[in-house]
């Protein structure tokens, strides 16, 4: 029996070897992954943005290509999840962010972003071409690059008559006919809340109470809500006035129509800015100026499905189905911390 003693040690070492080699393989694989995603060059501009901006249908790749052709400077887009996650990442990163620009904040997130002191003012030659009502930061730390009016989209093949005002939505004929987004978790939901506050002032809670029976479902984000709408769950959905342009361009249909409401509409303004931590501020400023130039702006309508901020940008044919007579209201949520919760609670109580 004693002789097994030697083998025992050997096998023991061997078995530990199995563990060690497995760990080594893992470490190697992880480090290959880690190094493969580190950027070595410093001449590039690094831009933090959200997912859909850099996706294949977003403008990211096109913008980067165009800019590299013009200047030789490479653009590195880093996606930080969605718009809310982007701001969280910026605030968490503070002054040590390894990026030059941020693209993808909006008017709802603007005050938090500018208050952080992490954005520096930009002087842009093209600034004068931007629709002046979009310039919401008077120090030009956050520059608008596109915008869209929130609007209800109506399925013209449904049997309902299209509503013509916010007040119409509360009529019994629209009972359980509307898909809304949650103001607590989505930008359109927040935009709708701002819209009702701009129109009804102090009476907005009463309005939401009257609206409650008309709401079929309140989804966490735009994508789920719009998905339910195109699957025919309800004939009305909260979206953007530009949504019909997508269906026109890709499905050759004008079935889905944006409704113009008499009271006016709120808007989402998308913003970009230069980080104070940037080590290439001049280059960053140049890119930002490029972003609001007609050349770059022309890429946005059919990728972002939003209006370009630069007023002299020509619009594609598909935008012919977007109603032009929309009045944009100055609207922002009065109390961004408590009002969304209050609104959602009113809807929930009303639906019960």
């Amino acid at each position: 029996m004693r002789k097994t003693h030697f083998r025992r040690c050997g096998a023991s070492r061997k078995s530990r070897g199995v563990f060690l080699s497995a760990a080594a393989i893992l470490l190697a694989a992880v480090s290959i992954l880690a190094t493969s995603c580190q950027q070595a060059e410093t001449k590039n501009l690094t831009i933090w943005t959200y997912d859909s901006f850099v996706s294949e249908w977003g403008p990211g790749a096109g913008l980067a290509k165009l800019y590299e052709q013009k200047t030789g400077i490479k653009i590195d887009f880093v996606s930080k999840g969605d718009g809310g996650a982007l701001l969280s990442a910026i605030l968490a990163g503070g002054k040590n962010i390894d990026a030059d620009l941020v693209i993808g904040l909006d008017n709802n997130l603007a005050s938090q972003a500018t208050a952080s002191g992490l954005f520096s003012a930009a002087k842009l030659p093209n600034l004068g071409k931007i629709d002046s009502k979009l310039l919401i930061d008077n120090k030009n730390r956050l520059i608008p690059y596109d915008y869209g009016n929130f609007a209800f989209i109506w399925d013209s093949q449904s049997k309902i008559t299209p509503p013509a005002s916010l007040e119409d939505l509360t009529k019994p004929e629209y009972s359980k006919k509307i898909i809304l987004m949650d103001p607590r978790t989505s930008t359109p939901g927040l935009g709708f809340l701002a819209w009702t506050q701009a129109v009804y002032k102090d009476g907005w809670k009463d309005y939401w109470k009257r609206l409650a029976p008309s709401i079929l479902v309140m989804t966490p984000g735009w994508d789920t809500g719009y998905g339910l709408f195109t699957k025919g769950e309800a004939p009305l959905v909260l979206s953007y006035s530009t949504s019909p342009a997508y269906h026109k361009a890709y499905e050759k249909t004008e079935r889905y129509k944006a409704l113009v409401f008499a009271e006016g509409h709120s808007a989402q303004i998308e913003l970009a800015g230069i980080l104070t931590s940037s080590r290439h501020k001049k280059d960053a400023e140049k890119f930002l100026d490029f972003l609001v130039s007609e050349e770059a702006q022309a890429l946005l309508p059919e990728t972002q499905w939003m209006y370009p901020a630069n007023v002299s940008t020509p619009l594609p044919d598909s935008f012919s189905v977007v109603p032009k007579n929309i009045v944009t209201l100055k609207a922002s949520v009065v109390d961004p911390v408590n009002d969304p919760e209050a609104a959602a609670t009113i809807l929930a109580d009303g639906a019960r």
């Binding site: 097994t4 294949e56 809310g84 969280s88 994508d223 998905g227 195109t230 025919g232 769950e233 919760e341």
Partner: protein, 551 residues
């Protein structure tokens, strides 16, 4: 030698626990980091946030919907558990393998598939309308009942798997004894079987309860108007109001309640393990005859109509090409073709990055999970007292159940606070942290069902504990490791939370592609990606056949 083995193995346990707690700790630091000296003044709002009426109503709704969902899932799953335990029939293994679904299908796919099937224009509704039951229950899907229904039909396979596998091993002698003593069918079941089945029923119940308690997207879509959950509050506090202290307060409240459930889970889990030890040889399963065959048939139809229907609808949608001009549609491969051609073959690229990231995460999860499982079962062989062994097993239950009690939103935010750069590595680690507990669970079940006599024989012949483990146990346990690895792979493959919240870095994984498609109006293509994703995750369906593992 012995001491070093123990400490080596124990350190895996601590490492594993650290993986679940690290992001929570990191998140807590990030929540308090911004406070500076005003700590004291912030503590009060933190406490106030806990008792606000909206928090309390969210808590109540979270508990109520989770409880209702669990009860319905048990009711739906129990007959299935009975059938797979007692009978040998075609599709038996398929029933057991369905348990992979709740772990592997991303929530957005669940939502899409249920809408495609039960929605206003869904197949189910159309068939109902054909039969003359149209427009009943309009809007019912978007109420608490719709939510409970979706949750139940998403989670009931867990009951079939967990309860069914214990039941199958249970000797029938007790029940038969009761019958001989003159008890009726029901009474003999209640006296001879139910008490021994109860731990596994409660274990499944607590697992399902936890899933539903933390469920977020499904709750918002289907129960959005009925009420809100704590997870919604956490998500909003992190993403929109950037109020991390509040998110932390809510998360701690949520975790405290979940820990009670986890405690119950760990307790029943251990009881389950104890109970299943004494069963002896599993009784043979019979082919079903007449009445039982009819019952199994009826049950299969029920499952096919209510559970497989949505999955079928999802598949059909992926192969449907729509021209919404006239609402026309036809069968075709264009949704896939669009994703495979163009300037970059998106689908291939995403599949590639998903495969490599999930492969790594699954490998890491298997290594960690195996080590943890081994560490808790190795002790008994060294003549530990039963009490010490029990302690180890219960520690193991706790460690592996702990990750189930943490808010996914907080965990993701915590990981991103922990490591700011290199997205891929972060995703691998984050997903590994999700998957390893399930590996550890199924492997500890496998370890505890090992025939210890063989190991002891090897030890008597002079093998070291580690040698015996590798040479004897490992050979016996290898199939379980393979199926646990497949399961881990499916979980990490199907996980959309981690890459969604952290951003995919420079690699686009399948779930990310799916979400980007849905946010770019491309829902049919999203279903096509979903099908590819489901194909990969269904690896588990084919490899997961061992009945002794519990997820």
């Amino acid at each position: 030698m012995r001491g070093r083995d123990t400490s080596l193995l124990w350190s895996f346990g601590f490492l594993a626990a650290a993986f679940s707690i690290a992001p929570l700790v990191a998140f807590s630091f990030s929540a308090f980091a911004g406070m500076g000296k005003a700590d004291a003044s912030k503590t009060l709002p933190l406490l106030l946030a806990l008792v606000s009426p909206s928090t309390l109503s969210a808590l109540r709704f979270s508990l109520v919907q989770a409880a209702l969902s669990t009860v319905l899932a048990l009711l739906v799953g129990f007959p299935g558990a009975f059938f797979v335990a007692r009978y040998d029939f075609r599709g038996r293994r398929f029933f057991m393998a369905l348990a992979a679904v709740p772990f592997c299908l991303p929530a957005i796919l669940v939502i899409l598939s249920f809408i495609l099937y039960y929605g206003k224009n869904g197949y189910f509704s159309l068939i109902l309308a054909r039969l003359g039951y149209g427009s009943k229950g309009e809007g019912l899907l978007y109420s608490i009942w719709g939510l409970v229904f979706v949750h139940a039909f998403y989670n009931f396979p867990i009951v079939i798997q967990n309860v069914g596998s214990v039941w199958a091993k249970m000797s029938r002698s007790r029940e038969e004894a009761a019958r001989t003593l003159g008890a009726g069918k029901f009474r003999s079941f209640a006296a001879g079987t139910l008490p021994y089945l109860l731990p596994s029923i409660l274990q499944s119940a607590s697992l399902i309860f936890l899933f539903c308690f933390f469920s977020f997207t499904i709750v918002l879509v289907f129960g959005g108007l009925a009420g809100s959950t704590l997870e919604v509050g956490i998500y909003r506090a992190i993403r929109f109001t950037n109020d991390r202290p509040k998110a932390l307060a809510l998360a701690l409240l949520q975790t405290a309640i979940a820990l009670l459930v986890v405690g119950a889970f760990a307790h029943f889990d251990r009881k389950n393990a104890d109970a299943s030890k004494d069963f002896g040889n599993p009784p043979p399963r019979h082919r079903p005859r007449s009445f039982s065959l009819l019952a199994i048939g009826a049950y299969s139809v029920l499952i096919a109509v209510f559970f497989l229907g949505p999955l079928f609808a999802l598949t059909a949608e992926a192969f449907t090409v729509r021209y919404s001009l006239a609402g026309e549609s036809r069968f075709g491969l264009e949704n896939f073709a669009r994703l495979l051609t163009g300037p970059a073959p998106l689908l291939l690229r995403a599949a590639g990055s998903s495969l490599s990231l999930s492969g790594l995460a699954a490998l890491a999860a298997v290594i960690l999970g195996f080590s943890v499982a081994a560490s808790s079962h190795n002790g008994a062989r060294r003549g530990q007292t039963a009490k010490a062994f029990g302690f180890r097993v219960s520690m193991n239950s706790w460690i592996t159940a702990l990750p189930l009690a943490l808010s996914p939103a907080v965990i993701s935010a915590g990981w991103s606070a922990l490591m700011d750069s290199s997205g891929e590595l972060l995703i691998v680690i984050g997903q590994m942290a999700i998957a390893w507990p399930f590996v550890a669970r199924s492997l500890s079940a496998a370890f505890s069902s090992l025939d210890r006599k063989r190991n002891e024989a090897a030890r008597t012949l002079g093998a070291s504990p580690l040698q015996a483990m590798i040479r004897v146990d490992a050979a016996l346990i290898a199939p379980s490791v393979a199926s646990a690895a497949a399961f881990a792979f499916s979980i990490t493959m199907g996980d959309a939370n981690i890459p969604l919240i952290l951003g995919g870095g420079k690699r686009e994984t399948l779930p990310l592609l799916l979400y980007r498609l849905t946010s770019s109006y491309r829902f049919s293509e999203a279903c096509a990606v979903g099908i590819v994703l489901a194909l990969f995750t269904s690896v588990a369906f084919f490899l997961k056949e061992r009945t002794h593992e519990t997820p």
